[in-house]
Symmetry: C2
Subunit: 355 residues, 2 copies
DNA sequence: TTGTATGCGTTATCAC
DNA sequence: GTGATAACGCATACAA
């Protein structure tokens, strides 16, 4: 006996059909609308359904039969709360939600590295497709899992290699623009504040470029170094104002040897750097210029308007959704590389005379 | 023929069993671990599986059989991106994720008011339970849907009536504390900046208290009015710094008749009000005192530390998760009402002498 | 337009 | 410790 041991079994579509005096398939069709049904039977079925308290096909059974669950997994490499602290990720989620909703799909939040084995995770969740966000080495593993299951997968901001559609940004070129902007303004001594360099999220001076395993970080770093090969780089432990602040403090610790320009790899970091500059008694942009990356609205930063690179975050999410949609249709989805737009604000200016 | 018309069918557990020379049930048990299996057969099955590229039971079939999908729906009443802009919701999600993970469940993001009719949402998603967040009238509808489906449901910060467990806050009492604090400091002229008053998110002066349909807003408003019955109230269109700023501008528009204290219903709103005060040339707290609500960390607000009511946001999420867990076990879950803690910062001070 | 038959891939139950 | 059996609830191909 697998039927609910206590109480009444929930009505099934067969019950409804019997009650309505039609066959199960007819009743099914009434709910799915896949085939025309005479208005009369339609009514009978619907009435029977409400009489029995039947609220529609059981999604579990339907998805088994259809081979689709209507669920797209979104895999993060961090704690969910942390992920949503990032405005860019939030916007992407928005775009992604927009794009998968028409498919009749919802987003299932997943972490790649489930703590206890008990989690649902990639292996056990009924996914139609998966979107991997970020790209530290950890995701490789998730990627394997998903591919093994034969589930369509799209990667945002990360290199999944070869056969996996990828939604990315022209990080290097974009960052180079910001750097060139500084150089054109006469800056020669520049410091870089990077996003986390490695999966272990450590904060500190970056002495060895090879130590950078996170794709985005590496690409943007390369862009900055293209213009300022000798720039020093400090890796933050996350994209937060506070992290930028901490980095800024280090950078401005020795006022005698401070840089005249700071290239931050995110707007939040830039905001923190600006606050650190203020704390150190430096004016922005008179004494020090700061550039960001992302083009988000940083609350509480007024009257500053960051010189930054605006990335189409929402569009990235949408594109990922579109790619998922395509793959679900059987069409192979292409990788997309979005372009950032340079936007000059009031946080950069001519390099000050020699310090 | 329902089998994939083109290409090879994915291996099923029966295939694996056959290949391993055991019965399907035995193979199943190897994967579920529900029953002891001899090491020998275990190996055989696992080997057969990897030989066939079988990566584990199909979650769809498993969930049909088990009657559980391992998915908890989280229903928001707004755009996802908007929801996650709210630090409190983010923290709740964190707590919720924590609490459902041990259950082996994941969180499915859902919006109650799907734009196009095509959405999947509550009606078609394979949910084991649902958590409704927020509380405008819109959620009523979602609630009906879920209840009709017989799915356990928990509501956070909203009155679902009678039989639905509710995770809430002592909003009124808490807000009263902040108001009393202001009163004790000698304030008499006080303005209130509320969260959205109604589902339509309109901004503006609140002339009719009855117009407030959002539970949280109403409760906090009541708490403030308990102490300052004549206070004027301005409804923001969302919990953002910018909204608080806009409200603050209105409130401080006429400096002659400005209040000496402002009770904001969220920390972000309070932060905005403070900035508006600064813009108006008012010092906080010397000229005007401001209180917030939530107890979150507001980036960029330093050196201010809000006088506010600290709510246990993460715990709320956890409690919701626990309630879900209980209901899934068959145990009826009780409603919980958390208590806020008053925290005095440096944004409130004695009322200034008569203006 | 409606009905019939079949299987989607698992797993709970029980007997061995 | 292992195997046979029977659902789980539905949607589709096809015949009527």
């Amino acid at each position: 006996m697998s039927r609910q041991d206590t109480g009444i079994r929930r009505a099934t579509i067969s019950d409804v059909a019997r009650e309505a005096g039609v066959s199960p398939s007819t009743a099914s069709v009434v709910f799915s609308g896949k085939t025309p049904v005479s208005e009369a039977t339609r009514r009978r079925v619907l009435d029977a359904a409400s009489a029995l308290g039947y609220t529609g096909p059981d999604p579990r059974a339907a998805s088994l039969r259809r081979g689709r669950s209507g669920i797209v997994g979104v895999v993060f490499e961090e704690h969910l709360g942390t992920a949503f602290l990032d405005p860019v990720k939030t916007l992407m989620m928005d775009g992604l939600a927009d794009a998968v909703t028409p498919l009749g799909a919802g987003l299932l939040l997943l972490r790649d590295h489930e703590p206890t084995g008990s989690g649902p995770s990639l292996t056990t969740a009924p996914l139609d497709a998966a979107v991997l966000i970020g790209c530290s080495g950890l995701l490789r593993e998730s990627l394997q899992t998903v591919k093994a299951r034969g589930i369509p997968v799209v990667v945002i901001e990360g290199d999944a290699g070869d056969d996996v559609p990828r939604i990315g940004l022209d990080n290097r070129e974009a960052q180079r623009q910001a750097a060139s902007h500084l150089r054109a303004l006469g800056h020669r001594e520049v410091a870089i504040v990077t996003l986390p360099a490695r999966a272990d999220w450590q904060r500190g001076w970056l002495h060895d470029d090879a130590a950078v395993t996170v794709d985005v970080t590496r690409e943007r770093l390369a862009g900055a170094l293209d213009v300022f090969p000798d720039a020093t780089a400090y890796a933050a432990a996350g994209s937060f104002i506070d992290e930028g602040f901490a980095a800024g403090r280090e950078i401005f610790a020795d006022l005698e040897r401070r840089p005249t320009g700071v290239i931050a790899q995110s707007d939040l970091l830039a905001a923190g750097v600006i606050r650190a500059a203020e704390e150190a008694g430096l004016r922005v942009p008179e004494d020090v210029s700061v550039t960001g990356f992302d083009g988000i609205v940083v609350d509480g930063l007024a009257p500053y308007e960051l010189t930054t690179l605006v990335q189409p975050a929402t569009d990235k999410g949408r594109a990922a959704g579109a790619a998922v949609a395509a793959m679900l249709e059987g069409t192979p989805a292409a990788s997309i590389r979005f372009t950032c737009t340079f936007r000059e604000g009031n946080t950069t200016g001519p390099a000050p005379a020699l310090v």
